[in-house]
Symmetry: C2
Subunit: 467 residues, 2 copies
């Protein structure tokens, strides 16, 4: 990549008052696209933003110009004092797997899906993924999206970074990028990016289920980004800035905010409660269970294709919960529906939260302690060919309807190494799980999460190098 | 208040399996409406929930029954390990002023407005406010809404508390309750609650302004509740449970989630950045400025009426920000629009963030350093008869439109001792503030926040005792 660096005007308060002029001459800009080593610490992608990415940041006004990534942006101070605690927590962007899967689940989510603009080709897609990877490698370390960032681009350019996460990032931010099935082949069978031959055989959509009322406008997409952080401002900043970098190349299709994790992905975390007041995700796969991750989550060589090994599939379902109906249900019935004690999360067959349910246990009258149609019975691995998944969902509350009912529920996210394995469990639940009565799924998506990024690489590189 | 206590059935796993039956006999329930002293610690309202409030919790299924507030609910453990840090932080509900105004602004908001059901009268309204005050006095201390709470009502009743805040409350929760103008007199002049004579002369609505595109369904209401906490689950739990207690009496009209404070209300807090990346609320009134609070925020005896003294007015405006347009604006122009340096928040006339702007300062060419139409110039007290306000707003992001643009902005909240004082500043801004180009107000409300609650009292008691 070569960049014609823009001169940097000197700057003083007032000098820019009222100016809408073109970039002024400057001197001394660093011609190398790489920022200084200090600024790029933690960045696996040393190449900087593409010319296209730079133009997107500039908007339509300064065609033909571009910005070098050199500048004086320093590592953002992570005091957190104007944000959520834990601002200084950071996770590497590079690794064998993408971050944001086994990473201890953060408290906040901004999820977004994008469609590639018509007329763009394979090279455009690669460049977008390179730009996103570069920016993601920076913001996950608490840096601005580029070296010039929010404040160091001079008065005559729109800032590269929108600036609202300054001083509160990275707050444990992870950015996880995925591919929709349409990226390989549209519904009409079009192969826009020369990827049809690489479509994994296991990359299937989910069948329609009972209580599926799917809004297509809130489902699927060519690309997805899951941004998780312990400060919602940092997650929103990530989606906003990555959307901006994609300007003219990919358009935001739908987005969802979530708050409060509804699973634990590490043994170091307590089990949280969902909006039905239940402990949720007790039987989740944890980061500390490598064998289960290999068996259930990571795409292995036997599943393939090779380029996707160490990747996974992300299932996202927006599940509206009939809050007011549930809240009027007797405690005993709530527990029968879930099969667990509401207070401590223990199976109704006895023991503690993490004890295995005994689906054969009966009371004195011979009745099963755990109803056959309870949620725990329907989804438990022992009743589903041993299939498990790594759940990583969030609560959502999107206002209320005109009857005063909250539009709230679970933005369900799970990672599995084949969507049909999720469907086995899901079908078993959807046919007559007692819980289904209180749920209504309003959006449903499957994305392939490619394997992790090597130092200097970009998300999806294995795919494009495969052919 | 007297309660016919419901018998409490004994309970074992499985016994309730499939049961939808009526309450079973029990023995030993405490006939006193007050919970034990330990359970009621921090509660200014010793009376418990009204019969009506209890029925609301029960839903329609068990007419005529009621629940005593005695029980075994203990103070919720505030470990916070499955929620946000700071779970143990609590603020008293009782006091001269309501909490949630000068309280150091928390990180999360759930705001809701309600309309009283048709046909209800003054006593119903009083009872609702008593029930809300009782529940609020408990949940702000990390307790469930009643002593039986989420788990101690037995298997045959819906739980009093929805349970999702268990273990993560109170997280600094404040519950602030307000009155809409319609509570005193409807648009048609109807005096539903015998309060028309008590309508404060200063309780006026805001005039329509430039760039007001007001959705009435998202504005106003008979009552409002502002729930703020450092964990969004705790704020949502508060609104959800107070909505539930109001069932059949008041219906949720509109609601708004907010994340990330956009002001500081204490000198102990850093200035946060808003979604335009600017430091926001630099000139805010702080809790540590009692003289300014008396002058600008608290309703004084000279303003009256007597029952409202120590109350205030809450202005709530949902201000959509044209994020994508702003992000394409040159840094220098962004700073001209706001009149402040984007990085450090200092006025463009020089100095640091907290230095007073010098609106007469000029550069070498004689041009003003701070544009006359900049936001800081338009809203500064020195240009508005010295009027200040206490701002306490939040960011919001409610998905995106079909063009992929974020539906995001500022849920502006300010407290002033007369709405017309807010209007003076607002008019000065709305006429030609450069900032207005990037804003669109989609909802607008004014609520009177009555003074604080005495021990054993309820919100609004001063009003109903006044006549």
């Amino acid at each position: 990549m070569s960049e014609d660096d823009l001169p940097e005007p000197s700057r003083s308060p007032g000098e820019d008052s009222g100016s809408q002029g073109a970039p002024a001459p400057e001197a001394g800009a660093d011609p190398a696209p790489e920022a200084g080593a200090q600024e790029n610490a933690g960045s696996p992608v040393g190449r900087g933003l593409s010319r296209r990415g730079m133009l997107a940041l500039l908007g339509g006004g300064v065609a033909g110009a571009s910005i070098g990534v050199a500048g004086t942006a320093a590592v953002v101070a992570a005091t957190g004092s104007s944000g959520e605690p834990g601002a200084g927590l950071s996770y590497p962007f590079a690794g064998a797997h993408q971050a944001g899967i086994v990473t201890p689940e953060q408290e906040h989510l901004h999820f977004a899906a994008f469609d590639i603009r018509e007329g763009l080709g394979r090279d455009d897609l690669i460049e977008l993924l390179q730009d996103w990877s570069y920016a993601a490698s920076r913001i996950t370390q608490g840096l601005d999206v580029s070296a010039r960032g929010a404040f160091d681009g001079g008065p005559y350019l729109p800032p590269d970074d929108t600036g609202e996460a300054t001083g509160i990032a990275p707050a444990g931010l992870t950015v996880t990028i995925g591919f929709g099935r349409s990226l390989f082949s549209t519904d009409a069978g079009e192969d826009r990016f020369g990827l049809a031959a690489q479509l994994p055989e296991h990359f299937t959509e989910l069948p329609k289920m009972i209580n599926d009322f799917i809004d297509r406008g809130r489902s699927a997409g060519d690309l997805c980004i899951q941004a998780c952080a312990n400060d919602p401002k940092v997650a929103v900043h990530a989606i906003r800035n990555l959307t901006r970098i994609a300007f003219g190349r990919a358009q935001l299709r739908w987005s969802q905010l979530g708050y409060g994790r509804t699973s634990s992905t590490s043994t170091s975390q307590d089990t949280p409660r969902n909006l039905f007041g239940q402990k949720d995700g007790t039987a989740n796969i944890r980061a500390e269970e490598p064998d289960r991750l290999e068996e259930h989550v990571w795409i292995g060589e036997s599943q393939g294709p090779d380029w996707a090994v160490n990747g996974t599939y992300l299932i996202a379902r927006r599940i509206s919960m009939t809050i007011e109906v549930w809240d009027g249900v007797q405690l005993g019935e709530q527990e029968r529906v879930t099969g667990r004690d509401k207070r401590d999360g223990a199976p109704l067959s006895g023991g503690g939260e993490f004890d295995e349910p005994d689906f054969a246990a009966t009371d004195a009258s011979g009745a099963l302690l755990i109803d056959e149609r309870s949620h725990v019975a329907r989804v438990h691995p022992s009743n589903n060919d041993g299939i498990r998944m790594l759940r990583r969902g969030y609560n959502f509350t999107d206002g209320n309807d005109d009857q005063g009912r909250l539009d709230a529920g679970l933005f369900f996210i799970a990672f599995v190494n084949a969507p049909e394995r999720f469907s086995v469990v899901h079908k078993n639940m959807a046919r007559d799980d007692l819980f289904i009565e209180y749920l209504k799924t309003t959006a449903s998506s499957v994305f392939l999460i490619p394997p992790g990024v090597s130092e200097g690489g970009y998300v999806g590189q294995q795919l494009f190098e495969a052919g």
